[in-house]
Amino acid sequence: MKTPVVLVTGFLGSGKTTLISRLLEHPGMGETAVIVNELGEIGIDHHLLRRVDERTVLLASGCVCCVLRGDLADELRDLLDRRDAGEVPHFGRVVVETTGVADPTPVVMTLLSDPVVRNHYELESVVATIDGVHGLRGPESVKQAAVADRLVITKADIADPAGRAGLERQLARLNPTAEARLSAFGEVELDWLFDGAARDPHDLERGHDAGPGEDTHDVSSCVLFLDQVDWTAFGLWLTMLLQARGQDILRIKGFLNVGGDGPVLVNCVQHAVHPPVHLDEWPDEDMRSRLVFIGRDLDAERLRASLSAFDHAARPVRS
């Protein structure tokens, strides 16, 4: 069985360490290894975690999304070796905290593509902390929110209620696939945060197409609804789309009706494609394919027409 990995991202000062620190106090988090990445020469965050044992690993002096990607893979492999050798207490989950300026996409790519890592670990979810007082801050912050499965809006105790409500609306437009919850002092329900269903794109009706805005650095989202789609045609279309426009597509997530009893869960973070998950049944009565796209220069109608054309072309080829 693969060990789940939770990636915690979020802008500088948005409350990542506070969140993880609080999580580690929870009895259900006892068997968790933590990998902390910091930019500075002297790491501080791992001391703030208050549980510096052999399962807490510091990746300092560089950012995990650029210079330290190999180090992250090495640390994950090393943790496995030491666990198997009994050199560290057993752990059943790994939490990776990125730096505040990190682009989470390359980290996701490492987790999904490194041969050893992907054989032993499974990326469970990406959690982004969003500063409840300052909101999204810069393109890094927007990207972190766009690729997340769960959004934790921090500092709920001091955030202005009106501003907070505006931030919640902004996040729902930006990333309709991620559920957001408010948190004060890092308090958040463990079951919600680590629920596997975090990757299920429910409630898409709230994710109406949202145009680009200054506040989201030209990142917008749209939802495609289609009927049954040929799986092979979709695979070709997706790989071609990511090759051509991968830099502009931050996220694709959704259910695909490929004709089986249940949908296929599709989840991509830029070029990083999660292994598709074939579900046994639909979560509700709506059996349409529905895909959320988050990125720049998105045109829902062109995306839909293109995918439909690939699907149409697959029929005579298949017959």
């Binding site: 071609m240 789309l241 090759q243 051509a244 062109r302 054309a309 690939f310 072309a313 697959a314």
Partner: protein, 69 residues
């Protein structure tokens, strides 16, 4: 193979063709006779881009019209 046939149709729109070589690899050819060996279908788009010297966009209106026929 269904996937290769569909791929060949898409590539054909851009003047490329895909040939199965002994069931092991694929050979991608353009109309000028240039070719590239593709180890797996996942790499076909980057090789096709390299041969053509431009991006192959699935949202291209003429491709969408061609595939919709």
């Amino acid at each position: 193979m269904f996937r290769a046939a569909l791929l060949d149709r898409v590539l054909g729109h851009f003047g490329l063709s895909l040939h199965d070589w002994a069931g092991a690899v694929y050979v991608l050819r353009d109309r000028k006779g240039s070719s590239a060996v593709v180890q797996d279908i996942g790499a076909v788009w980057s090789e096709a881009e390299r041969l053509l010297g431009r991006r192959l966009d699935p949202l291209d209106a003429s491709l969408v019209a061609e595939l919709s026929r």
